[in-house]
């Protein structure tokens, strides 16, 4: 069985968000890069857990990005991926990225494709759905539990105000969130082994991007907190009712 885990490079969750070049480019000064937490903690770790139960499983990783993604791919390999593919392209359009991934999927015939539910930078939740369409596979989004029995997956997914339990035959595309697995830290053996695992760099297929980012904006700064005395809770209720008009 072959599993493909899609990973993305994102700024660390505590990174300062600022923009340069007339607000057209993210300011990378001093930014620590990480594997998108949803891709790592949930999608990748679940794939590794499945491989621990069935060592015949092969885990491939894929990312669409330039050479500056290599450190996070090595980290993903250190956690437990077998091989990695990097499509050498820099593009923020989700259709473009999904089409690059779908191209690799069609060549390698994966049984299971896992992604995080979204990236913490663009927050699109789009790649898994698009890849599933491009390869004509079923798609289960926002998974909170994932079990595999032979070639049938049992997946719990979030719906409005609850959850749904779904059974589906492989191949399937699944986007993962909290609950699917728990965060892990790579060990020294994994880090050493990752150095020699294959990282294949492929050139992108000619795909037209359908969107482009014009510029970025930061939200206006908050006016500052209005503090109310703990002895005058009635004043807080008055402010929420009359000033903020939210109750």
């Amino acid at each position: 069985m072959k599993i493909l885990v899609c990973v993305s490079k994102t700024p660390d969750t505590t990174a300062k968000i600022a923009f340069i070049n007339g607000n057209t480019k993210f300011d990378e000064t001093g930014v620590q890069w990480i594997i998108n937490p949803y891709d790592e903690w949930y999608a990748l770790v679940r794939a590794i857990e499945l491989k621990e139960k069935d060592p015949s499983i092969i885990i491939h990783l894929i990312t669409v990005g330039l050479a500056d993604c290599d450190p996070i791919i090595r980290k993903a390999l250190a956690l437990g991926g077998d091989e990695a593919i990097r499509v050498n392209a820099d593009n923020s359009d989700s259709y473009y990225i999904a089409a690059q991934i779908a191209g690799v999927v069609k060549k390698n015939n994966y049984d299971l494709i896992l992604t995080g539910k979204e990236t913490i930078d663009y927050n699109g939740s789009s790649i898994a759905g698009m890849v599933s369409e491009m390869v004509d596979a079923p798609y289960v989004s926002l998974a909170t539990l994932f079990e595999l029995n032979g070639t049938t997956a049992t997946i719990t997914r979030e719906i409005e105000g609850g959850e749904e339990i779904a059974e589906v035959s492989l191949p399937v595309v699944v986007s993962c969130q909290k609950g699917v697995a728990e965060q892990r830290i790579p060990n020294m053996r994994g880090i050493m082994a990752a150095r020699t695992k294959p990282l294949q760099v492929v050139e992108p297929a000619p795909i037209d991007a359908l969107t482009s980012i014009v510029n970025y904006e930061l939200p206006p700064a908050k006016a500052g907190v209005k503090l109310v005395s703990p002895d005058n809770v009635a004043e807080l209720v008055r402010l929420l009712h009359e000033e903020a008009r939210v109750i």
């Binding site: 700024p11 289960v140 359908l210 970025y216």
Partner: protein, 320 residues
């Protein structure tokens, strides 16, 4: 034409759908075109009355298979409806269903998508949609450059406005394949306000000291008809169920009012709640970083302050 996707559950149209109906109708007006709606499956609500949100027609594919969301079937049916109706903009809510379906539909239509939009597009020169990025810490203005455009609108980011009007309900005949996904169980959290649809959310952190102390929070939430949430340490310690965890790696919400009790406000927590319109922080530590992101705050012992707050709100609701 702007085609608006209507989402429903248990026979009823979701609140988020009224937001996208209002948004889509306004967009159509701005573009000098008409707005129509699309509903897959069956509901108990009166579809003709959706005209009051400014739409002319509701297309319905009334096939019971579609009462469960299967992204593969939905994308195919919606794409066929787009072609049949000649729509050039498709609007979804970026709720759980939208996240499952909008991008897949866009891929099928080879349409550019802005997922997580938070304002009406600028159609003056091109088609530029504002969306939240970096988990609510910034916005990006994104140009869609394809003939068909797809927008997935963040819940709670556009105010519903209802006027007068009746829509024509039209049956749309589209072949529906059998689903490859078998739903074996649906578990609803009953009697509670769904977190992502709530106007008011009351949330608790480690400052509550233990699950046995949640009563003060639940009383306040009950009085406000609010949904309840918690911080990551609370979810991890199983004081509260996982689905209540809001933050960067939990649920992201944007209610009108977010009340944080005993939560320090780590940057990862703020990433899940910073799109809330008004934030109230109650914490005994005046140095808690959350106060910097708050609109209103009380520095004090929540076990004393919160019961008083509940009492005051009771008085307000009693017309005091």
């Amino acid at each position: 034409m702007v085609l608006i996707f209507i989402d429903h559950i248990d026979g009823h149209i979701k609140k988020a759908s009224y937001e996208v109906l209002t948004y889509g109708a306004k967009l159509a007006e701005q573009m000098g075109t008409t707005a129509e709606a699309l509903l897959l499956g069956t509901v108990n609500d009166d579809l003709a009355s959706l005209g009051k949100y400014g739409i002319k027609k509701v297309h319905q594919v009334s096939n019971e298979t579609l009462n469960h969301v299967d992204a593969q079937l939905y994308a195919k049916v919606i794409a066929e409806a787009v072609t049949a109706t000649g729509a050039d903009v498709v609007v979804f809510s970026h709720n759980q269903t939208g996240k499952a379906v909008s991008a897949r539909t866009a891929a099928r239509l080879k349409a550019g998508i802005v997922a997580g939009a938070c304002a009406l597009p600028d159609t003056g020169n091109g088609f530029i949609v504002r969306k939240t990025v970096f988990s609510g810490k910034a916005f990006a203005n994104v140009s869609i450059n394809s003939p068909i455009k797809v927008i997935s609108l963040n819940p709670n980011s556009y105010k519903t406005v209802a006027g007068e009007g009746t829509a024509e309900v039209v049956a749309l005949n589209v072949a529906v394949d059998p689903s490859k996904i078998k739903i074996t169980a649906v578990n609803k959290v009953s009697g509670e306000v769904p977190l992502t649809e709530a106007d008011i959310v009351v949330s608790g952190g480690r400052g509550l000291k233990g699950p046995e102390n949640w009563g003060v929070l639940l009383d306040l939430a009950h009085e406000l008809h609010a949904a309840t949430a918690c911080s990551r340490p609370v979810g991890d310690a199983h004081w509260r169920p996982h689905h209540e965890h809001v933050g960067q790696t939990g649920v992201q919400i944007a209610p009108n009012l977010y009340i944080a009790l005993g939560i320090s406000g780590a940057i990862q927590h703020l990433a899940g709640v910073n799109r809330s319109k008004v934030i109230v922080v109650i914490n005994k530590d005046p140095e808690a970083p959350f106060f910097k992101a708050a609109d209103y705050g009380i520095v004090g012992d929540l076990f004393e302050v919160v019961p008083k707050l509940t009492e005051e709100i009771k008085k307000l609701h009693a017309g005091g």
